[in-house]
Amino acid sequence: MSDLPPFQTLIDEHAGEVMAVLRGAVGRGDADDCFQETFLAALRAYPKLTDAANLRGWLITIAHHKAIDHHRAGGRRPLPVADIDEAGGAKDDTRLLGAASDSGVWEAVGALPPKQRAAVTLRYASDLPHAEIAAALGCSPEAARRSLHEGLKRLRKELA
């Protein structure tokens, strides 16, 4: 029939990361609902999946679609700019976001346009390389790089 592993292995291996990505994308309060929607959608589609090579990327893509749906349903409201005094001096992007466990930065990330937000979250919350971000977003690596770049530029401006 197929080479798909039992769905439980996807949960065991990737549920934590999916939850972290969703917390980054929609915030802690709504992450649980998006998490349910993500895995139910995945479960629904799973038997017909033809390529099991990148199940992690597949799940994270679904998570991003659910996060985007969530933002659309709520109306994309600009979120208050975060207070990032502690990260203000950081020149390095990884540190800018990495040090900012404070939810303000993620709220700013949440207010980015969908592709930029997805690229930033995938890069810094999930630590995916550009090629995998591209795969998850269904675009070219150049386009992924551009979304990431634009997203970071905007974040720097918003948070400055």
Binding site: S2, D3, L4, F7, Q8, I11, Q36, L43, Y46, P47
Partner: protein, 185 residues
């Protein structure tokens, strides 16, 4: 996280997305793997069998929507516990026979009717399944029984009373026959 996962399996069951539910259960012989579909119990994995391989096999042969969902197997676990305590002689569980076909399934259905504490020969099982001469095939049907314990293939012996084989190993077959009072303890 645990609450989120519990909610997920509940909702999956409600929405008809839980094709195979599984859990593990303790037994006097070691951990058992129990798996059911909406139709009934489909697979019992014995302690010496590789659980991961069994789950992979279920994903391939039944559906890849395989989830760990202990609540779905509460009734099975309860009846097995009672059986191992010697307090239950007849299982009353819906079974899903889809992992066996044709002659094998007929053999297994005949085995399911052997009463607690009694034994039959492989020859007799072959005859009941409609082909007296297919003794070897009856033996291999026992060997491939997907639902051991509940379909009690441990009650099938060689003509003359030799134990024959058992998927869970001969010590387990002996232990079960002792539990049921067929062998002296």
């Amino acid at each position: 996280m645990k609450a989120a996962l519990n909610r997920l399996t509940e909702r999956a069951a409600e929405e008809g997305l839980l094709d195979v539910a599984y859990t593990t259960a303790d037994s006097p012989f070691g951990p058992l793997l129990l798996a059911s579909t909406p139709r009934g119990l489909v697979r019992v994995g014995l302690p010496n069998q590789d659980a991961e391989q069994l789950l992979g096999d279920l994903a391939e042969r039944v559906s890849p929507r395989v989830l760990e969902a202990p609540a779905q197997l509460d009734r099975v676990r309860r009846e097995l516990d009672l059986y191992f305590e010697g307090k239950l002689t007849d299982f009353d569980l819906p079974l899903d026979w889809r992992l066996s076909r044709d002659f094998r399934r007929r053999v297994l259905r005949a085995i399911a009717r052997i009463p607690y504490g009694q034994t039959r020969s492989y020859t007799e099982m072959a005859r009941r399944a409609g082909n007296e001469r297919a003794v070897r095939a009856a033996g291999s049907a026992c060997g491939s029984n997907p639902i051991p314990l509940v379909v009690p293939c441990h009650r099938v012996l060689r003509t003359g009373g030799a134990l024959g084989g058992y998927g869970g190993g001969l010590p387990m077959k002996e232990g079960l026959l002792r539990l049921e009072g067929v062998l002296e303890s």
